[in-house]
Every structure is written in C-alpha cells, then in structure tokens.
C-alpha cells in the first residue's frame, strides 16, 4: 500500500464527484463562522477560494505579498479559459474536454480529478459572466469562442487578449466585496515564510511584513496555499518578477510531498531574448496560432528579411509534420519542433534564436481590421518590446518557460500530505499531467477555488467543531518565528560580493541547460553536480545590503532564490529518475523514430511524490500509481 492515498471515490467516472459531494460531511451554515481558514495567495485560485469560503460563512484571512490582491500573476494570462459549454455546436462535451486534457497531459494525470475539472468548467463561465467579466461576444450578443492548441473544437472563452486579467478582476471583486463586508481580513505585503504544524496537522503560518520587517504568526483551522508555480527557477521565464516557490517549498520542508517537479512547460510563442541583461521573457498568446503560420527558411543561416524569402524556400514545419493539427499542436510539440529547427541553424532574427509567426495569409483573407480586433493589444505589445511592426512583417517567436505542472501533491480533496494544509491552482500538481493545454490554467485555478475546495474543506472541518485553533503563543509558533529571524540575520550578515540576482541568473542558466526543453542523463548529472557548488558559493558570497526593518527587496529575493536552489536539485533528480519522455519532460534517450516523446507506461505510469527528510538528506521518492479505466493509453499523435 502506497503512503499516498488519492482518496478518489468509487463508482463511475461521471458520477464520482456528484456522489462524493453527497457523501462528504457538511458544516452547518451557523457553525461555519466558528472555523477560521488562512488563504495564502490571491490569484485566481486564492481569490476565488477566499471569496467563496467567506460567502459560505467561514472566517477567512487572505495573505498576499503584493501591495494589492489584484496584482497576482494570473492577471497576465492572455488567451482564454476552456469550458465544455458546446455553445458552438461542434461536438464538445464534458467527456471530450476530459479526454483532451488527459491526452494533452500525456496520460500522467488522475482521471477522476480531470473529469471533475471538465464538469465544473461550465459553472466557471456562468460565475464569471454573472460577476461582469466582459467575455468577447458575437453580434447577436451571445458569447464567442475560439479554438486552442490540443483541441479540435472551439471551447475557449476569452476577453480580448486579457482573459486572465478580467477573470482575476472578477475574483478580486468578489474578494473585496467580502473584505468590505468584514468577512475577510486582508493582509497585503505579507510574505508567508513558514507553515506551522502542531501534532502533525497544519495550524497556521508565519509571515513577514515586507514593509516593516515584522515577523508574526497567524493560526487557523486550515491553511490553503494558492501561491502559484515555480517557473522562475529558470530565471528567464514568462513569470512575473515576484513569482516564487517559497510558500510551496517551505510547506514541503514541513512534510508536504512535492510531486513531479520535472514537469515544466515551455511555451512555444514568446518573444526571443535580445541580450544578457534581460530579466524576463514576454509571452505572445497561443491564440495567435489560430491565424499565424509558423515557419523558418528552408536553408540554414538565411538572414534575408521574411518578405524576401519566396514561398518555395519556406518550411511551414508544423503544417508539414502534423497536417491534422498544423499550427495548433500542443505546446510541448510546438516548442520542441522550434528548438529542432533553431538547433539546425535555421533560426531567424539577429541572434538566430527564433522562428517566424506570420499573419500575412490571415490578413489577406480576413483584412487587417479583423486581425486587429482579435489580437490588437498583443500586436501593440510586440511592437513596444521589439520596435518591429507585426502588421508589416512576421513576428519572431521562441519557446520560454511558462508554467509548471508539478507542485505540491494533493489528494482528490486538494489536501497535501499534511492534514489541514491544502494546495490550489498552479501550486498543486493535480490536473495537467505532464503537459498543460492552453486555456486550462485559468480553468483549473478557478475550479479549485470556486467549486472544489469550498466542498472538500467542510469534510475536514466538520469533525473539528468545537476545537479552537492552536494559540499563536504556542511554542510551535515561537520556533517557526525564530527560524525566520535566524535566516534573515544570516542573509544580512553574509556580506559577500555578488548580488542575489547574479546567483539567480547563474542558477537559471544551469536549470535551462540541464532541465530545459530536452533532458538527458549526462546533462542532468552535470546539473546535479554544478547546482550544489553554486549553492555553496551563494551562501558564502551573496551580498544583501540594507536592514530587515524596511522594505528590502534584496532580502526578499535571497530567501526565494535559496528555495529555488533546493527545488532545482529536486527537479534534476526527478527528471533523472523518470526514464521516459512524457509531455513537457522530454528525455533524449526516450524518443520514437520520428523524434516524438516515447512514454514507458509499464514502469512510469505513476506520480512521483518526494518526501523531505531534512536539509542534509536526500528526499525519498514515493509513487502514486495512475489507473486508467476510461481512456486507452495511446501514443499521442497530432498528425
């Protein structure tokens, strides 16, 4: 028997969630106010969870390290959100969305979780629309849909190129409504630095006020982490500057297993880096692949402007290799193919590090106005960053780290291996398997927060009626606060010669080279020998100026980069142990003759969840076997 009990209910796949909602224990409406819940993070998952829990009557404390909950990085999602509404009458259904998501994830996710996600997807659209999210509409006034990678139906709802912003503002408005009503205490500019346990259950958190430096404890009956993904371990990614793994990693150190850290997603359509100083890469929404055609010159080192290259000397390599899906193949496939052509020397642009995304045909077909109305803000953004006009010449794009499928292991209730500690949204590992489909992150974050956690958390709380939360004067909190203070002192007293950013950048290069778009044993072993060396140097030679009693951004970053070091080592080990290719995890040693990812279902059809054993001992790998009763495992083919 594995340590990991997924708690997936019995019964038919399509009935599991419905039946389970009836089976779970409930907290009486009048008793909900007797329970307090901490929610860390105010992105889609955190804001929607905090608002929904407060509406139900729970006492909620919401924490964010931003100055306002509305800044969370969900806001930057551009393209859209999937839902099995079938408003387009093109054959969509809950089962098809479930099937596409399982297949897109390369059969490395839990059937029951994914089916539940597809079921509640339709409720999300209703909820968001009722909140006033201005989704795009047809002239008849009904909602418009577009298609996205990995699907052959149009099921993606969108609000121009700002879908994440609008959905987050919807969730944020629901959160602020509860703040105004006094049911949520909001704590902005507070960074969670410890999860606190008593008798092996989560009982609270320790936070540091980023402005005053004050360290304080908060206790509750349950703690919910909705703190996003860890893509910034690569330094260069499409994540925001403040995105980090710290909350999840500190939870891991307190006993929450970390699952599938090697599953990272490299997004195919980002603006290529222009120089070393660059601190982040900017994504161009995948929706652009609906109308843009991706190509490179047939010849290597062809530096002619795109317009001078005749059709006969262009290679529309995705359309050529995958006629059925063409430019809309899933992200991992699109990214790897871009890497292949660039590695062949056919990359374009001044650094030969990109491929063309060309709108000439769509513009000729639909007119420039139609293209402008669909993608206007993305085109403007591209021009601001590159100084090039994409209406006149093709965009240059290249893959960049964008999303992390791995995260804290959670059961069907979204509870981690620490009782009373939950993980939501990108912070958990749950629904995307080894590869996430476009427009599914927003769906999962909101599903977890609006429609899953509010049900499942009651099942945990109901038997605890009448118990008070652990007092913050308990020694467990004092110990956690002391640990935070000690680390702060250590960073400020090291007084080395190199900045935190310097080490972050160096770490990022190692992670990109060793654990990037394609991995192999030699590269992973190299990473496992280089990263600890750099980590040692970081601890000995970093400089963190200033004091702990003011806003000190170097100090904040030092702790986050320290956690990235721990994570990077675990990613490399996870990637090394997974001797197969699946989704975003591509091992050179395991590919088909056509160069596609080759899974090993016999030996690796499982979730790898890592248990922390102390700072100086390697983590232990545990397995949760994945059982597929409703889909047949096949080699993914998008041809």
């Amino acid at each position: 028997m594995s340590l990991l009990d997924s708690k997936v209910p019995e019964g038919d796949l399509a009935e599991k969630w419905t039946n389970h909602k009836f089976d779970m224990k409930l907290v009486n409406p009048n008793n909900k106010r007797r329970f307090s819940i901490i929610v860390v993070g105010t992105g889609l998952a955190g804001a929607s969870a905090a608002a929904s829990l407060a509406e139900l009557g729970y006492k909620v404390k919401a924490f964010t390290h931003h100055d306002s909950p509305r800044r969370a990085h969900s806001i930057a999602a551009q393209g859209g959100i999937n839902a099995a509404k079938n408003y387009t009458n093109d054959g969509d259904s809950v089962h098809r969305l479930f099937y596409d998501t399982i297949k897109g994830g390369d059969y490395r996710s839990r059937e029951a979780n994914v089916h539940r996600l597809a079921e509640v997807s339709v409720n999300i659209i209703d909820q968001a629309t009722a909140q006033g999210v201005p989704f795009a509409r047809e002239y008849g006034g009904l909602l418009d849909n577009r298609s996205f990678g990995g699907a052959q139906v149009s099921r993606t709802f969108y609000a121009r190129g700002q879908t994440g912003q609008q959905l987050l503002l919807g969730a944020y408005s629901a959160l602020m409504r509860q703040v105004g009503l006094g049911t949520i205490d909001l704590y902005p500019r507070q960074e969670m630095l410890e999860v606190v346990k008593k008798d092996d259950e989560a009982c609270g958190i320790v936070v540091r006020d980023l402005v005053s430096g004050e360290v304080s404890s908060h206790s509750a009956h349950a703690v919910v982490l909705a703190t996003g993904g860890y893509g910034n371990v690569y330094f260069l990614s499409t994540n925001a500057m403040m995105c980090n793994v710290t909350a999840a990693w500190r939870a891991h150190r307190e006993g929450a297993f970390f699952a599938n850290p090697c599953y990272t997603q490299i997004h195919p359509t980002c603006i290529p880096a222009s120089d070393d100083f660059q601190c982040k890469l900017t994504l161009m929404s995948e929706s652009l692949r609906n109308d843009g055609r991706i190509w490179v010159p047939t010849a290597t080192d062809d530096q002619r402007p795109a317009g001078d290259i005749p059709e006969s000397e262009r290679d529309y390599y995705l359309e050529r290799k995958y006629p059925a899906f063409g430019n809309l193949v899933p992200r991992d496939v699109a990214s790897r193919n871009a890497k292949t052509v660039v590695d062949e020397g056919r990359g374009i642009g001044p650094l030969k590090n990109g491929v063309f995304l060309d709108f000439a045909e769509a513009t000729a077909r639909d007119g420039e106005d139609a293209i402008r109305s669909k993608y206007g803000n993305l085109f403007d953004m591209y021009e601001r960053i590159t100084g090039e006009n994409p209406y006149e010449r093709p965009m240059r794009i290249y893959p960049a780290t964008h999303y992390t499928m791995g995260g804290l292991w959670v059961d069907y209730h979204l509870m981690t291996t620490v009782p009373g500690l939950y993980a939501l949204g990108e912070a958990n590992f749950s629904d995307h398997g080894a590869n996430r489909l476009g427009a599914s992150a927003l769906m999962q974050g909101l599903a977890d927060g609006y429609f899953v956690l509010p049900y499942t958390i009651g099942n945990f709380l109901a038997p605890r009626l009448g118990q008070d939360p652990v007092s913050t004067s308990d020694p467990v909190f004092a110990r956690a606060e002391a640990a935070v203070e000690d680390r702060t002192k250590k960073w400020l007293s090291t007084k080395g010669t190199k900045s935190v950013d310097h080490y972050h950048r160096e770490l990022g290069k190692m992670v990109w080279d060793g654990i990037g778009m394609a991995r192999n044993r030699a590269g992973l072993e190299q990473a496992l020998s280089d990263i600890p060396e750099l980590e040692k140097e970081f601890h000995a030679n970093v400089i963190v100026p200033g004091s702990a009693a003011t806003l000190n951004q170097s100090l904040e970053k030092a702790g986050r980069v320290d956690d990235f070091f721990g994570l990077a080592k675990l990613m490399a080990r996870d990637a090394l142990e997974r001797e197969e290719s699946c989704g975003g995890h591509f091992r050179d040693e395991h590919q088909t003759e056509e160069g596609e990812a080759k899974r090993d279902d016999e030996n690796f059809s499982h979730v790898a969840a890592w248990e922390f054993n102390g700072p100086d001992t390697a983590q232990t790998r545990h397995r949760e076997e994945l059982e597929f009763e409703n889909v047949e495992l096949t080699q993914r083919s998008y041809k």
């Binding site: 608002a51 929904s52 931003h66 100055d67 306002s68 909950p69 509305r70 800044r71 990085h73 930057a76 509404k85 409720n123 209703d126 909820q127 629309t129 009722a130 909140q131 006033g132 201005p134 989704f135 509409r137 002239y139 006034g141 009904l142 909602l143 609000a159 121009r160 700002q162 912003q165 609008q166 503002l169 408005s173 629901a174 602020m176 409504r177 105004g180 909001l186 925001a240 500057m241 403040m242 222009s274 100083f277 660059q278 601190c279 982040k280 994504l283 001044p350 953004m381 601001r384 960053i385 609006y450 950013d501 310097h502 400089i543 100026p545 200033g546 003011t550 806003l551 951004q553 170097s554």
Partner: protein, 257 residues
Amino acid sequence: MSNSMNLTLKVWRQDGPSENGRFETYEAHGISEDASFLEMLDIVNERLTEDGKDPITFESDCREGICGTCGVMINGRAHGPQFGTATCQLHMRKFADGDEIVIEPWRATSFPIVRDLAVDRSPLDAIIASGGYISVNTGAGPDANLIPIPKEVSDTAMDAAACIGCGACVAACPNSAAQLFTAAKVMHLNLLPQGQSERWTRTEAMVETMEEFFGSCTNHGECHAACPKEISLDFIAWMNKDYIKSKVKNRKLASQT
C-alpha cells in the same frame, strides 16, 4: 547588436514614509537601447548592490504592462514619454545617448511613499471594497448565455475594464484626483445588464469613498494622457451622470422599503 547608451539618472531616494527624501545622481553606462526602462534600473541596482550600497527600491511584477505594479514619474511624466505605455513596457530606444533622466515616485498625498519609488496605493482597493463588484455568490449565476449583451455594450465595458489600477491617473492629475480609475471601475459594471441591480448604490458608494481619499476632478485630462491603457475620459462623464442620478434613485429606492 544593438546600440548602447550612457545616461545620467537623478533618482528620488527616501528611506521611509516619514523620512526626508533627496535626489541622488547615478551614472548608467553601457545600456542597450533594447533594454526596457526597468531593466536599465535593474542593471544600475546590481552595480549598486555589488558596491555594497542600497539599491533603488522600485516596484514591478509582470513586466508586461498588465499587473499595474510598476509606475514612476519619468522626467515629470507618469510612466514616461510613450503614450499608452506602462513603465515596464517603455524601452530605452525612446531615449538618446547622454540624456539626463529624472525619476520620482507617484506624486499624490493619498499615495504615501513606502520607500524610494514605491508608494502605497491601498485607497484604490478601498474604493473597490465599497462597491466595485456585482454581488453574486459562487454558484448563483445563471447560464452565461441567458442574457445576450449587445457586442458594442460588452466591448465598451471591456474598454473600461482594461484599467490596470496602476495609479498613474492620480499621479498625473494636478489635483491628485482618482476619477479615471473610479469611473473605469464604475462604468465597467454599470454598463452591463448584470450590474443594473446595484447600479445606483454602487455609484454613490464608490464616488464617495473616492472623495474621502482623493482630490476633485477639474477636467484637465492629464489622467487620460498618462493612462497606459488609454482609458477614455467619456467614462468620467458617464460616472458623473450616474452619480447625480444615484442621489435621486437611491432616495427613491430607500423610500420603497
């Protein structure tokens, strides 16, 4: 490769909300014209840090012009010289080699300085908490296609909803008024059918919360000129109209109960 430039920065430094501030001068050498404005500051900060000095505190997050975290006065203009562009999306190719650039925090009494270029914009959240929502509990919404909304209406609501809450409108306004922010938020919801039930209470509450914190609008239009999302001044006119009506409507609604 891209051209590099040498710049002189005059930057406002202030250790805390109640400390005295001052301008400090820094040389920024060898900056690529392809660097963004904030990447230029990153480079300056890394040099300061490795010299053992306190780096310049400034806030930013997404660096894609959507989260609204960043924003400084650049040569006296909120978000700098490029129209419709947040500070993080401004690139150094908009400046010339040898330029002197003056960098200050948002200037508004209602946005107290936290440190250097970082300010406290929490009054904007207070405006939202007072009514910037549609009261619909999770699960209570009807089918999304139940109420058709004319595309033009939905598009106009989206134009307002595009506001990123950066506070540039307040910083640019000679009165430090927050009319553009508040109008964008009010009218996004007031234009939509879903927002009608609370239209008048929302408008009154949000406008009056705004007035607790911010100055009064005298129709300069500086806010629009500084807005990275080019939010239209029309929304302010609409909000004013709704506010006047709300005073009558809310009284009538109250008398019906």
